[in-house]
Amino acid sequence: MKINQDKCVACGNCTYACPMGAIYIDPVVNRAKINSDECVECYACYNGLTKEQLPPGIVRAARQAMKVLRMRFEPEPDICPTSAFEPDKLEWPRIVRRAFSDPRVPHESTGIVGRGTEEVKTNDVSGRVGPGEVGFTVEFGRPGVGAWFYQIQEMSRALAAAGVPFEKNNPVTGLMTDTATGDIRPDVLNEKVLSAILEIKVPVARTEEIIAIVRAVERRLDTVIALGVGVRCDENGDDKVVAPILEKLGYKLNRAKTNLGLGRAVMSRNDAAGDAREPAFGSEMAK
């Protein structure tokens, strides 16, 4: 993403809108600038701000006059008054930032819009997490911190060392050079994303062990991790196995996604693994 310096009037709206806090008003030129190292190409600025058409020169003159009068130019907080944001053409590996950070961009590897797979949301159809199994989603970077792939690799290596298989349709798995070691391709390790998710599945008996591994690695990482735990309920709709384990570990189960089981199976589990619903984005991703 870039900001057209001829259009920017330094109103500051975008400095608040950036989820990574990567936009600032450069005091030397009095224009908004993007810290490209921290920008994750999420397009929140470009997609979220309403684009208005005020003439930059007139706005700057008005702001100067108001400053003298100690008055404030106060546009609506969710607009760019001069449509100053302009998308950059992204090359590999930077394009990975957008694929993981802009939720409207499908991953080449999965064809799914978003950062993970459908996990338990379509478990009634996919049967991905069965009785006696636990699916984990290990999400990095939210809220408001972001994550680098070298941080994600530290976790993937730890999980791989524990013999945990990764969900093959997950886009992070798609960037691994070796799923047995959890190694991620070196050319993306210094790329930052707004968030990314590792997905794994283990027998219920390994629930505590996996959480302990995740928490131990997390302490070494300068990012935030949110864990999701997916389970198959029994015939009465109860989970009398995993919830007690989580509560014993001290977790307050405040929120959950409840799959009502109304989905209809339309294809076999193996077929489902290869299907891509959305048009692919960024052919560079596959190279």
Binding site: A17, V113, P143, N254
Partner: protein, 227 residues
């Protein structure tokens, strides 16, 4: 895909926050077009007074726009949700969502969805109690459940919790904490109403899962007591 699981707050804070999600089964294309069922999902949701509707490709019922004329800068901004626009603009099978602020409305909606038998995977993202109540209303047993273990190390009493509650209502992180903080401050200073501030935040949510009712309540709470 929507990302509704990890919202910051305790179970009580989700009392007015129920998201019903519809996803076409993988491979549904091979069996026919899921779009009529998905569009019908949105149309039926409208009958049960949602606070937001959306799809993961186009966003929610309050969206940013590109103005055409200079003078639009001074025009009154419309903060009301455009539900019809969401339904008309739905063009591709992806994750669709309807957000409710009353449990009874969500219960009636999922009960209706069961009768309609679309074959779509239906999920309720909310407190566990709300999810179970919707299952009871639809006379179904929970098939699966995905628990959030929260944001590790960020306790419920953390400073700036109101901004966290607001910003995590976009599970993709498109709503920055800085903007959420700014909107709380705008409400405190009476420069914007909670309705206006909630609409401003909602425009950044890229799949229509932002709950404006909950946002208004949080900002009203924060207006007089930030902690």
């Amino acid at each position: 895909m929507t990302n509704t699981l990890h919202r910051f707050g305790d179970a009580e804070s989700f009392a007015d926050d129920l998201i019903v999600i519809a996803i076409p089964a993988k491979g549904a294309k091979k069996q026919g077009d899921p779009m009529p069922a998905l569009r019908r999902f949105l149309e039926i949701a409208l009958e049960y007074d949602p606070v937001n509707l959306g799809d993961a490709m186009h966003g929610g019922a309050i969206r940013p726009k590109r103005t055409k004329h200079v003078f639009e800068h001074w025009m009154k901004k419309d903060h009301s949700p455009d539900f019809k626009g969401v339904i008309d603009g739905a063009t591709a099978p992806t994750t669709f969502a309807a957000v409710f602020d009353k449990r009874e409305n969500a219960e009636k909606f999922v009960e209706r969805l069961k009768k309609e038998d679309f074959g779509l995977s239906i999920n309720v993202s909310s407190s566990i109690a709300n999810g179970q109540a919707c299952c009871r209303a639809a006379h179904v047993a929970r098939h699966s459940v995905g628990y959030s273990l929260g944001f590790d190390g960020i306790g419920e009493n953390t400073p700036n919790r109101h901004a966290l509650m607001l910003s995590t209502m976009c599970g993709h992180g498109m709503i920055s904490q800085s903007l959420a903080r700014k909107m709380i401050d705008f409400v405190k200073e009476n420069r914007r109403s909670p309705e206006e501030a909630a609409a401003s935040l909602s425009r950044f949510c890229s799949c229509g899962i932002f709950n404006t009712t909950r946002a208004k309540r949080i900002m009203e709470e924060a207006r007089k007591k930030i902690f």
